[in-house]
Symmetry: C2
Subunit: 451 residues, 2 copies
């Protein structure tokens, strides 16, 4: 951090003095991740200059990782040759990733400046559905043949591997480009140079289909500790591989999406600071309004019990505590189930096991919180009937909240929705309304009130 | 899934028929991840048999990934030689990971059955603090010297690399075992065989210190797209490396911890089904009770406004909607900040930028929700004063909720607590209480009531 600040200030000084040579020296051996940090701190005009002085490989990687709105601004300021150089140098999957954010006209224009070969590769990737394995795979892998000797394969890697994203796993291709197996560079290194690839390869390797969901591809890869996952088409022909850095991005995005949905938001299209305030506002306001309108039902319920409320006004004192505790309980059990589903520990088949467990837990929590809640109510009002009403209401509501919290994510998963939506605000709203009905029904009996 | 079920049923059949040969064939080439799935489905006595028939390398990996209570049960049933074989075969970092769950007496016993060399390695790892980089590193890496030729280094890898966890990155060691640089197998493969390692290595590589936090080590590695991170001691001597599978585990654990804390729970010591109900109950109940007692303050506030409530009973109708919406708003902004902190986009230095942004957002959300809330109140009661009171109370409360939601995680981060604790239930409770005070203060003025 300290170091970055020093580099930044000397970079700025040299930019002001137009000492391009010094700037070039500073950014010569920089890691793309560090270059990105520096670039983010610079003004747009300074950025354009630095991009020109960066090594083209680094320039391509930094550009890829910038947010789309900043990419747009830079593209307007770059010369055509600068744009061409950056886009030509990108990995095909990164290029597809960048281009999918731009309107079709801009995409056509950008594709026209790069070589036909790179253009074709990118167009093919863009043809796969969003969030599919095909979209994030790279066609740049090392392929070898089953009848090659290990020494021939190693020579082949030396000859063709220079520009491939990953060479540590090689893919063994049979007739019709079908994927026959994989073999690691490690295994080749330890094998006899005259051994045949088909004798040392792993046949029938773990793979994904181009149309598979990215998340499924990632969890398969992590389950088997793979550093790259081959992707085949419907005819089992190898068309690309997904490298571990892209798989990691999928996992991180997925965690972010889950966490946002658990707080009643859609995932932001960009990172926090890069999302425009209007976009964020719309995203948040839609959810808040929907929940608020749902919540207004609680007003209708309270109005229904107006007479009871005026007769025993103390009843109202425990409403926030009751619906708050019930919401917290439901949030806990929903979160446990959502996380269990996400990491693959819970599946739809285990639904009864979960419900049994959470029923028992609901009874335990209900009894504990009910007695404590009743005690608080008694201390505040010295009325034994209040103790009875609050205790019973807590027990029932907490039990109910715990079951619904566990059940709803499973239902959502079953009908094909994201279970993460059910946690937090959504479940709290449902529980609030139900809790009120339970509470006043019990109170009406205990205090012998008519609604 | 389908396939696993078939394998499982044939495995069970053969176990019942005591056809050990058939069982051995089934588990001969199995991947440890699949073996783990199978083992989990078997009864304890069956597990013991399968463990004996598994290849020792696979047995070691499967055993490592079982939950501690199931490890204990198996250890009581294993023969000493079976235990020795499994523990001898484990990677030192996995062994340390397994052992840290057992009492000291058992650890001593288990360490006594393995070779002195492996024992020393494990004891050293166990000497580092929990959650430190030293704890998850493996001492099994390939080291080379700066003056080696590439061809010599490759021969050296062939000779010494067979049992190393990772050979794709080699570590260049100078005098006193100081880490001079790293060189990838890829670079060696593409370099001239006579080139010197010191001329092709990356000097001053990214590294971690043994006492660094595991999370920091992981985020460094992912920032620079590393597949292994070297770990040095305070004298800059290389003592181990952390491989990417262990870094991934750190990230997944971290995400789980965050998500649990956002729902007011501590992270479970085990996975959901493997956590005993009593442990889970204690974990959940402590948080629920603390929040409930805090929530009971809302009862005191409502009691304080008892006269106002009996005079204008309709005021109570909008309490759940108000505190619900405010809680949802705070949950959203807290989540945005917590996630921003977790992925490194927001840091403490950016506190003012966040607060500026969320103040503006608070005004926008407050106005929108205030007007809609006021409208709902007016429709339900036809009282223009209710419209005024509810609109104003919503505006102020939502604004306040949005700021507190953004601010509290930043404060927690600053004072060294986990910001994730502040989301969800915790912030909802604070906002509930404040919202009530704001609402009744405004209502008292609008309806000209005395408390």
């Amino acid at each position: 951090m300290e170091e970055t600040r020093e580099i930044l200030s000397s970079l700025r000084e040299n930019l002001e003095n137009k000492d391009w040579h010094a700037v070039r020296t500073i950014v010569a051996d920089i890691h793309p991740a560090d270059a990105l940090e520096l670039i983010t701190e610079l003004r747009t005009t300074e950025r354009v200059v630095v991009f020109r002085l960066l090594h083209k490989r680094i320039a391509a990687e930094v550009f890829t990782d910038l947010p789309p709105d900043q990419q747009s601004i830079l593209l307007e300021l770059f010369t055509e040759s600068q744009t061409a150089k950056i886009f030509e140098e990108m990995d095909p999957d990164d290029r597809a990733d960048v281009l999918e954010e731009f309107p079709a006209g801009v995409v056509r224009e950008l594709l026209s400046v790069i070589s036909p070969e790179e253009r074709d590769m990118t167009a093919r990737l863009l043809g796969y559905p969003e969030n599919s394995a095909g979209r994030i795979m790279t066609p740049e892998y090392v392929e070898i043949r089953p009848r090659m000797k290990v020494s021939e394969a190693l020579d082949h890697i030396r000859k063709t591997g220079q520009n491939k994203e990953s060479i540590y796993i090689c893919y063994v291709i049979g007739p019709y480009r079908k994927l026959k197996g994989v073999v690691s560079l490690r295994d080749m290194l330890f094998a006899h140079p005259d051994a045949l690839i088909q004798d040392i390869m792993t046949s029938d390797p773990t793979k994904a289909n181009t149309h598979d969901d990215q998340e499924d591809a990632a969890s398969t890869a992590f389950k088997y500790d793979l550093i790259a996952l081959p992707v085949v088409d419907n005819e089992d022909r190898l068309v690309g591989i997904i490298t571990i850095d892209d798989l990691l991005d999928v996992v991180e995005e997925e965690a972010t999406e889950d966490i946002h949905r658990m707080a009643a938001m859609e995932q932001l299209p960009e990172s926090y600071f890069n999302t425009r305030l209007s976009v964020l506002f719309r995203n948040r306001a839609i959810w808040l309004l929907m929940l608020m309108v749902a919540q207004s039902i609680s007003g209708v319920i309270l109005k229904h019990y107006e007479t009871a409320l005026t007769t025993v006004v103390a009843l109202i004192f425990f409403v926030p505590m009751l619906i708050g505790s019930a919401g917290n309980t439901a949030t806990q059990s929903a979160t446990l189930v959502i996380r269990g589903l996400a990491v693959g520990e819970i599946d739809i088949g285990g639904i009864w096991k979960v419900l049994m467990r959470e029923s028992l837990m609901g009874v335990m929590l209900g009894v504990l919180l009910g007695l404590v809640g009743g005690l608080i109510a008694y201390v505040m009002g010295q009325d034994p009937r209040m103790f009875v009403a609050v205790t019973l209401a807590f027990m029932l509501t907490i039990f109910f909240a715990n079951i619904v919290g566990a059940f709803l994510p499973l239902v959502f998963k079953r009908i094909g929705f994201d279970p993460a939506i059910t946690a937090g605000p959504a479940i709290t709203t449902i529980i609030d309304i139900t809790g009120l009905i339970i509470y006043f029904s019990i109170a009406a009996v205990v205090f012998n009130l008519s609604a």
